[in-house]
């Protein structure tokens, strides 16, 4: 079993199928659609952003801007925000993720977390910028809480997303 502290880059995983990526994105979208209220809503991480960023960093060849953009449109409709707000933010986030993927995957999970929190904050800053440009009022500092909780979930995301990709041990093999 892998320790959380060290990122096991030497681990050999099964190849990732595009359908699997699609499935994780759909699951993330469903988590984002959960009917939550109160303080849970304000600390709820953006699961879609987290999943997109995970695949951008780990499988930059298998995921492009189009899925991120479409997911952004879906989130705009679900949030009732301006059309294209999340799409723009997710596209920029994908750019950062793919451009930095070599650098980020050199670090262990704890240090990856710092990269992730920066990228997620940038994503939220774009969302905030669009809101302000459209005449929204400035929300409090806790607008950025989802980035922090999202980054804290990064190790868990790694464990969950790679779990189906670990090769099964053959019981006959000693």
């Amino acid at each position: 079993m892998m320790r959380l502290g060290s990122f096991a880059t030497d681990e050999i995983l099964l190849p990732v199928k595009p359908a699997y990526i699609g499935l994780t994105l759909l699951a993330a979208l469903m988590l984002n659609l959960l009917p939550l209220t109160g303080w849970v809503l304000s600390v709820r991480p953006d699961f879609v952003a987290l999943a997109l960023l995970y695949w951008a960093i780990h499988q930059p060849r298998k995921i492009g801007f189009l899925p991120a953009w479409l997911m952004g449109l879906a989130m705009d409709v679900a949030d009732g925000s301006l059309f294209g707000q999340h799409a723009l933010a997710y596209s920029a986030m994908m750019f950062a993720g793919i451009a930095l993927h070599r650098r980020v995957s050199m670090f262990d999970l704890r240090h990856q977390l710092l990269h992730v929190v920066a990228i997620l904050l940038m994503m939220q800053l774009i969302v905030l910028g669009v809101r302000q440009a459209a005449g929204g009022e400035l929300p409090g500092w806790w607008f950025f809480l989802p980035s922090v909780t999202g980054a804290l979930l990064w190790p868990l995301t790694h464990v969950v997303f790679t779990a189906p990709l670990r090769p099964r041990h053959d019981p006959d093999d000693v």
């Binding site: 809503l41 953009w69 009732g80």
Partner: protein, 302 residues
């Protein structure tokens, strides 16, 4: 001239090109949506695609509520039944007098040759979930334009006004609560008929009565009802009760806080009223009054 060797592998357009393509696409969408509201039909398409996912995400909640409602105790059922039959008795008494009053009112209006108030139909709806943006006060209900819900319609619960339909999708609708920052309701004080506008401030359980002069005749406990002069909210719906007044002579306006009468954030069942018949055109130059426009409202108040 800069020379780069031909790439070994075909990798398509560069990262920056792809980013700029999608960024420009998003910006075009943003501009079209913010400026011209061109995107409402596309939004509806995406909403329909999202609908099954939303239902699936709601499943755990609905299942637990169903299971827990199955295991209610006999005592609570009995209590509810007693309360309901008592309420029913009281309201049926009131209804009888109301029938007579409606008839009398119609007759008087006929005599005075005034515009008849249209009968309002309504659709009961259930709140699916609260808006995902914690900085705006919006709820999504399970009825949409397929069930006859129109944008701009008023939404009430059993004790008063809770909001207005801001977007109608085919099977769901988005309701902006009166506590939303961008929501404004024209009201009237029951005690003396003073007209005012109530602004949401983005917190639950509080509304702001702005642009009232320091010496305005307002007291704690005054009941505010919709005035109906906007052509959006029917007149006479309870909106809020004045809870706090700060009169400071240094400012031109008093700071008045109100508490909504309706359980704006509590109820699961709401009633969506049909839209009113359009009012006659505003006679003079300038614009016709509209409810969803804070600035136009502000000038009218007082």
């Amino acid at each position: 001239m800069e020379y780069t060797p031909p790439p070994f592998f075909k990798r398509g357009p560069s990262l920056l090109t792809r980013l700029s393509f999608f960024a420009v696409l998003s910006l075009v969408l943003l501009y079209a949506d913010a400026r011209f509201h061109y995107m409402e039909s596309m939004r509806k398409v995406v909403a329909v695609v999202l609908y099954p996912l939303q239902q699936l995400a709601d499943m755990p909640g609905t299942l637990t509520s169903r299971v827990s409602s199955f295991f209610v105790t006999q005592a609570s059922l009995q209590r509810d039944n007693e309360r309901l039959s008592r309420d029913n008795f009281l309201s049926s008494g009131m209804l009888q007098t109301q029938q007579a009053l409606i008839e009398e009112n119609r007759h008087l209006r006929e005599l005075l040759d005034m515009r008849e108030r249209a009968e309002q139909s309504s659709v009961g709806a259930e709140v699916l979930y609260f808006g995902r943006d914690p900085f705006s006060r919006k709820v999504i209900v399970d009825k949409g334009s397929a069930q006859g819900i129109e944008e701009g319609a008023a939404v009430v619960d059993d004790t008063g006004l809770i909001g207005q339909v801001s977007r109608a999708f085919p099977w769901t609708a988005e309701i902006s609560l009166i506590t939303d920052r961008e929501q404004v309701v024209p009201v009237q004080i029951v005690r003396n008929g003073l007209r005012a506008v109530v602004f949401g401030i983005g917190y639950d359980g509080a509304l702001d009565l702005r642009f009232m002069p320091v010496n305005a005749d307002i007291e704690n406990g005054d009941v505010l009802v919709t005035s109906g002069i906007d052509g959006v909210y029917p007149a006479g719906l309870p909106v809020a009760v004045v809870s706090n007044i700060e009169r400071n002579a240094a400012y031109p306006f008093a700071k008045i806080t109100c508490t909504p009468t309706a359980g704006v954030n509590k109820h699961k069942q709401v009633l969506v009223l049909s839209r009113l018949a359009p009012l006659p055109e505003y006679p003079a130059e300038g614009e016709t009054p509209k409810a969803a426009r804070p600035r136009a409202k502000a000038k009218k108040a007082g």
